[in-house]
């Protein structure tokens, strides 16, 4: 009699427990879905908001003309797109070799104490807020460019230039690239290196012919990821790039990247017809580029990871 009772009680509690398990599961599922949906929501929201200007003008006209007069309804995005491309391009061109060599040094050539010193430094670099980079850019890089570097090449430069923005942006991308490369190189099995070294190759030859060759697709993917990160960087670039609407003719000219356009004009965008829509189109362009670059590089990196392990 008594045992049947306890059985009944434990059956009831187990029903409650299973119910709890199910309910918690569906709540968690909902949280997961909602957060994933955020991605789609942002994309759709931006498309809807930029519809008005796309209905009025062709995408080609918007992207490939360089007249920017919101008062008169001229919206040519070319200067901003070129600004973004120039700044990002400069940043990647100088950081790619620096981060490759540093990552090779860290994984292939250095002792463990070197890593213990370098990784915290990279941590700091990765953690510093964008405005701090901007302040440093204004205090250090801008005067250096205008007083030291620019006089050798052009008559006059304020120092607030495409090159300045590229340098500052590059330093911000460095920790990301180095950590991606270190991860990539560490995933190459030690046997590969041993095989090469035992054939009499030097360490650098091993790096060149085995490591870099083997990880080349991964390097491409990492650089793509870094590019997409660099393109969206706003405040630091905005502070040092000069913010002049023009197609930069030299590295010492000011430029005006897309994120800076957004950050500088959000306040007045409601006062003019189509202005809001134009700015949302700028955000949409950034979103699409980052989306495509991110998905592409992540899928590639995942495939590489699987093939190596």
């Amino acid at each position: 009699m008594r045992s049947a009772e306890t059985y009944e009680i434990s059956r009831k509690t187990s029903v409650v427990r299973l119910l709890k398990d199910k309910m918690a599961g569906s709540v968690m599922f909902a949280f997961t879905m909602i957060s994933v949906l955020l991605l789609i929501l942002i994309g759709f929201g931006l498309v809807i908001k930029s519809m008005p200007i796309l209905e009025e003008k062709s995408l080609w006209e918007l992207l490939c003309t360089s007249k920017w007069k919101p008062m008169r309804g001229d919206f040519g995005f070319l200067p901003f797109i070129m600004g973004t491309l120039w700044v990002t391009g400069i940043a990647i061109i100088w950081t790619l070799p620096v981060s490759l060599f540093t990552a090779v040094f860290l994984t292939e050539n250095s002792r463990s104490w070197v890593k213990k010193v370098v990784f915290p430094a990279l941590d700091i670099l990765a953690g510093l807020p964008s405005v701090v980079y901007g302040v440093w850019g204004i205090l250090v890089v801008v005067p250096w460019i205008s007083d030291r570097l620019a006089p050798h090449f052009v008559e006059y430069s304020t120092g607030y230039s495409t090159l300045t923005a590229g340098i500052v942006l590059g330093i911000m991308v460095l920790p990301l690239l180095i950590s991606l490369f270190v991860e990539l190189f560490s995933s190459v099995p030690q046997e590969f290196r041993d095989a090469s070294l035992s054939l009499g190759a030097t360490r650098w030859q091993t790096t060149k012919y085995v490591l870099l060759k083997k990880t080349f697709p991964g390097i491409v993917a990492s650089v793509t990821l870094a590019i997409s990160r660099a393109m969206g960087e706003t405040i630091a670039v905005l502070m040092v790039c000069g913010n002049i609407v023009q197609l930069p003719a030299s590295l010492f000219d000011g430029c005006y990247p897309l994120p800076a356009l957004l950050a500088n004009n959000y306040g007045e965008m409601l006062s003019l017809p189509l202005y809001e829509s134009a700015l949302m189109l700028a955000a949409l362009i950034l979103f699409v580029v980052v989306f495509v670059f991110n998905i592409g590089s992540r899928l590639l990196l995942r495939k590489i990871e699987r093939s190596l392990t």
Binding site: V27, T32, V36, I42, G45, F105, I124, G127, G134, R229
Partner: protein, 281 residues
């Protein structure tokens, strides 16, 4: 000497140089910020609100921005944790390893993590406008929460994926449900939660682009979610664009505060990872 050995020496030298270059940057940034910031730092800067004529160089401090930043970071960290811990459990306990659904969700979080904060800000700003909301503390908290959720999830997920299946199985075999197994899991990923929190705080406190649109800027401390709030990064940004040297100095002071906060966070993160991780670098 053979060519390959010369090349070896040369390349090693180049590698050493690039690594030193990284240190040079870190050193130069920290030195510049500390030197300029220290000169401008005073007790008044931390403890008082901007007075009359603050923006032409008269008395006052940055308390509005400090408190605003703390409000936004505190609230969004709590909200972010509340959303992302269930998601991480769902991905790692409820879904099987190698589940397709989990793989897609992880990809989505990777992309969300990569989306620039200015896009988050612009998106949130248009939503707020269409709802008739003004720039406010609440808006800032929401957009920063959205911004740090992917960081939370990615960082915690990385640790949670290392959970041995045997540990979950041991818990199941004692008769516990998946939900009850969470008690075991949470103890195991606690250091992961801690590092994720520190990372998110760092990102949340330093972000300027998203709050520029949503939180606005004000000279007073907000008393409700509907009022605008000042933040430290924007304090740096706005005051540096002033032509008056005294005002610019305050930007350096604010930048120093941000830098110190980030340094402390990164130090704490190091300590936590070193103490809890078995395989150190």
């Amino acid at each position: 000497m053979k060519l390959k050995f010369i090349e070896e020496k040369l390349m090693k030298g180049v590698m050493l140089l690039t690594t030193l270059l990284v240190f040079l940057f870190v050193g130069s940034i920290l030195y510049t910020i500390v030197r300029n910031g220290w000169a401008a730092m005073s007790w008044e800067m931390i403890s008082s609100l901007p007075g009359g004529g603050f923006y032409i160089g008269k008395e006052g401090g940055l308390l509005n921005a400090i408190v605003g930043s703390l409000y936004i970071v505190g609230a969004s960290t709590v909200l972010g944790l509340a959303v992302s811990i269930p998601v991480v459990f769902y991905l790692n306990v409820y879904l099987k390893k190698n589940s397709k659904r989990a793989a897609w969700a992880r990809l989505a979080y990777d992309v969300l993590f990569g989306i620039p904060s200015i896009v988050y800000g612009a998106f949130a700003f248009t939503i707020m406008i269409s709802l008739g909301l003004k720039t406010s503390l609440g808006g800032g908290i929401i957009v920063i929460t959205l911004l740090i959720i992917p960081i939370f999830i990615r960082t915690m997920d990385e640790i949670a994926r290392e959970l041995p299946q045997d540990m979950l199985n041991a818990s199941y075999s004692l008769g516990s449900t998946r939900f009850e197994t969470i008690k075991v899991v949470i103890r195991q990923i606690a250091p992961g939660i801690a590092t994720a929190t520190l990372l998110s705080i760092g990102r949340a406190i330093g972000d300027a682009a998203a709050v520029l649109f949503t939180a606005g800027y004000t000279d007073s401390i907000p008393t409700s979610l509907g009022q605008p709030a000042a933040t430290l990064p924007l304090a740096v940004f706005f005051q540096l664009s002033s032509p008056i040297p005294e005002v610019q100095e305050r930007a350096y002071a604010a930048a120093l505060m941000l830098t110190v906060i980030v340094l402390v966070l990164s130090l704490l993160g190091r300590i936590i990872t070193n103490r809890f991780s078995k395989n150190k670098i």
